[in-house]
Amino acid sequence: GYREDEGLYLESDADEQLLIYLPFTQVVKLHSIVVKGPEEEGPKTVKLFSNREHMGFSNVNDFPPSDTAVLTPDNLKGKPVVLKFVKFQNVRSLTIFIEDNQSDSEVTKVNKIALFGTTVETTDMKGLKKIEDNH
């Protein structure tokens, strides 16, 4: 469907850097990530920050990333990048900072971002039974 459409992409605005913030609705563990993009303007250096809200371009260099990935053209075609699992055990939100692109052009383009992982053991609300009154 449209998710695989090459014509649809995310493009950077003022310069070649991109900052994407993904909050999750529950706590997850991340295993790997896929970033697809065009060969020329696709991302190269990608830094991942877990559990950091409200990051801006100004404070992006203020703390070390949870993991860094340098993408190859293979990755851009869909080959997953395996992450340091230990760093992503308890992720509520993920910030993806794309620092530069393959051809050092003014604009970076991203077609697709896919995250692979599992959920953390949490309370299953459906399993809770209502306690009878008069207890």
């Binding site: 605005d13 003022a14 310069d15 850097q17 409200h54 801006g56 371009f57 100004s58």
Partner: protein, 404 residues
């Protein structure tokens, strides 16, 4: 009610000695900067404003963003003029100062005054603009003084690079009789992208145009109908009281020599009103001003003809000084009340009335009743106003009914 941290960048280069903006470019700038500080803090009490200079010995931050108006106004004094404008460094330092603001929740805004040639290339400015956009900093540019194309082009490129959803603006202020601050009042810089800032702007505009323009009591009936109503009611009570007092005092007032001055001064009031029309924006304001013009014509007509109803209160100098509008409305209401009274010509009343008119006009700043050109216009107006008198009276009394 946007929460904002603003940094105002003042151009204090040598070019500011120029007097093409009265009294000098630098003074006009500081006045405008003061107005901006007031407006921003009024919009939201948690807003902060800072001030820095871009020329002189070098780029310098005078006040870091604070909500303390006193500190800001104090630092504007004793600023030295000199050196050359360094726009690029100025904006970058401003961005840095905003980055380290105390309340990270505030939106960042830079207001730059540019009144001298920019020595940087367009490309440099565009890059700076893009950096500002990336860090979501809005930029307002006030371009005054320099009319050359180079500056305008560069500033437009800068604005295009920064602008994100129309949050940034570029305002050109040509040299002229209007003060820099007055022109700025009507721009989006003050009206805050069409939000609540217009209340402050409206009040300031009314004050700036000597209270003759704007809403009837300086309060917008749309923004605050209860207040406007309360003001109107108390005004009418005051009028009634003063009418009685004035009638007693009317017998004593009689100054023959002021006759000519009265007539020329009345014309001045009309002209001042017409000048203040451009300052006001909303349609309501324009309607009120036209109403005033009608009243004024009425007043002039009444003062120029010998036959008009008696019982008019004449010596209202104290009231007139406070509010020429009030005085005129007073006149009108009395004319309404005594329409049925026998019209007899009373010289003392006529002159006293003119004394009253002249006292209004004496209180208006910048009005010179002795000016010959003013007198000429007035006499020509008089010739027109007499046949119109009847028409005006009906029109004015009808408007009075509608107002009530």
């Amino acid at each position: 009610m946007v929460l904002e941290a603003t940094l105002i960048c003042i151009d204090n280069s040598e070019w500011m000695r120029n007097g093409d903006y009265a009294p000098s470019r630098f003074q006009a700038q500081t006045e405008a900067a003061n107005l901006i500080c007031g407006a921003k803090t009024q919009l939201n009490p948690e807003n902060t404003v800072g001030v820095m200079t871009m020329a002189g010995k070098g780029v310098r931050v005078l006040v870091t963003p604070t909500s303390d108006l006193g500190k800001i106004l104090a630092c504007m004094h004793g600023l030295e003029i000199g050196g050359e404008l360094n726009l690029a460094a100025g904006i970058q330092v401003a961005q840095l100062a905003l980055k380290h603001r105390q309340n990270k929740k505030q939106q960042q805004r830079i207001i730059v005054f540019v009144g001298s040639p920019i020595k940087h290339e367009k490309k440099v400015l565009e890059m700076i603009g893009r950096k500002l956009k990336k860090n979501s900093v809005a930029l307002d540019i006030v371009n005054f003084g320099e009319d050359d194309e180079g500056n305008t082009e560069k500033l437009e490129a800068l604005l295009a690079a920064v602008n994100n959803n129309d949050s940034s603006h570029l305002v050109h202020v040509p040299p002229g009789p209007n003060a820099l601050s007055d022109v700025l009042l009507s721009t989006p810089i003050f009206t805050g992208d069409g939000e609540g800032g217009s209340g402050f702007a409206a009040a300031a505009a009314a004050a700036a145009a000597s209270g003759a323009s704007g809403y009837e009591f300086g309060v917008d009936p749309n923004l605050d109908p209860e207040l406007a109503l309360a003001l109107r009611v108390s005004m009418e009570e005051e009028r009634a009281r003063q009418e009685a007092a004035a009638k007693r005092a009317a017998e004593e007032a009689a100054k023959k020599e002021k006759q000519g001055e009265q007539q020329s001064s009345s014309q001045d009031v009309t002209m001042t009103d017409q000048d203040s029309v451009p300052a006001s924006e909303a349609d309501d304001k324009k309607k009120t001003t036209k109403h005033d013009e009608g009243l004024l014509q009425e007043a002039i007509a009444m003062s120029s003809t010998p036959s008009y109803p008696s019982g008019r209160d004449t010596n209202m100098s104290e009231v007139a000084e406070d509010d020429p509008e009030l005085a005129l409305a007073l006149q009108l209401s009395m004319q309404d009340g005594t329409k049925d009274a026998p019209s007899h010509s009373d010289m003392s009343q006529l002159l006293a009335d003119q004394a009253f008119v002249s006292s209004i006009l004496a209180s208006l700043p910048g009005v010179d009743p002795e000016d010959p050109s003013v007198k000429d216009v007035l006499t020509s107006m008089q010739n027109q106003s007499e046949p119109q008198e009847k028409k005006d009276e009906d029109k004015v009394s009808k408007e009075e009914e509608e107002k009530k």
